[in-house]
Symmetry: C2
Subunit: 205 residues, 2 copies
């Protein structure tokens, strides 16, 4: 098992995850969201495959028949090919409805027009190394994000994460993947306190 | 106002919608879904703009703070730029969670491995004329699709549309757009009966 890597508050990273390896994402202090993206990798792992094969919230929700994905559920790409399988989950509440926070998120929702770190920027800057362009960033799988939906009115509420210190989720790669991950930068999503995110890569069995 | 155009059951179309024009989508017989996509158009309207500016369910749901978009809500692209505004809606129940039905939808959900018409095919074949590639088809705004979410468990249920014969929705273009539309091909989404969809383009005021 690799050492644990820490993603500093309001930053992100990108790396290669080989088929069969398992990514464990941990919330070391509790109540911290991590936006996760996955793209099929090129054969030599130096870039994303073209045409781009990207994580699809719509396909994944459709096949899972739930908005709350957890152990046993599959994250599909837009062509209905499995990218990741959730193999463990001590939290059980993650969001797959909303996009990575971006400068526009802070201006439209928070009324903040000053510079603000964002998952969008932290994803595209790190994923650019692997050939992903900013306009290609799709809806992320928002690990530990607590988005509630009122089943009658449809109203969406972003609540503090239910994750406690040490909670984790494990996802096994079904293909060679380029992964993008953040420690989320949005106030409301993280109960107004920015914390790190830890991850480690567990080798294929 | 243009004449009404009819989309035959289990087919689709694509066309240009100019800034300020309003698209009225009608359900002439009731209980029929229409998958809607929008992309920013190139200056001469012959193709989609590059880099691609595509309808984003994640951005739109985030800003609307509801999964049930209706009159007054805005459909955004991935860069948080408004593409369409809903200006009228006699139905009030549309889905923005699930992807266009595809061959894989029918094999994974319905167990049908024979050829089956699909919104995915009807969208990409018609949108190809405007330069959209199949792998670029995002989550659609599924007009008249009745997807219920259990707020406690997160469970998704695809129910018969609540639309009655003559129900319509109107969407005003905030930019020059390439529109893709279908009369949906999936059994469950349309209460197991395939019907046409009508649309007309209302000029800018």
């Amino acid at each position: 098992m690799s050492d644990t890597t820490r993603i500093a508050p309001q930053t992100g990273t990108a790396f290669l995850l080989r088929k069969g390896e398992t990514l464990r994402i941990s919330d070391p202090l509790g109540e911290q969201v991590s936006d996760l993206l996955a793209f099929a990798a090129s054969k030599d792992g130096s870039a994303v495959a073209r045409p781009l094969e990207w994580l699809s919230s719509g396909r994944s929700l459709d096949y899972a028949e739930t908005i709350y994905l957890t152990t046993g559920n599959i994250l599909y790409d837009q062509n209905s090919v499995p990218l990741l399988v959730i193999t463990a989950d001590t939290c059980g509440r993650h969001d797959f409805l909303l996009t990575p926070c971006s400068p526009e998120t802070f201006s439209i929702i928070y009324g903040n027009t000053e510079y603000h770190p964002s998952c969008y920027e932290n994803l595209w800057r790190n994923l650019a190394v692997f050939g992903v362009e900013p306009h290609e960033i799709p809806t992320a799988f928002n690990v530990f994000m607590n988005v509630q939906v009122d089943g009658t009115t449809g109203k969406i509420a972003v609540l503090p994460p239910t994750s406690k210190a040490g909670d984790y989720i494990e996802l096994r790669a079904e293909r060679d993947l380029v992964i993008g991950m953040t420690a989320c930068s949005a106030e409301m999503s993280n109960n107004y306190s920015f914390k790190p995110i830890d991850y480690r890569i567990i080798p294929a069995e």
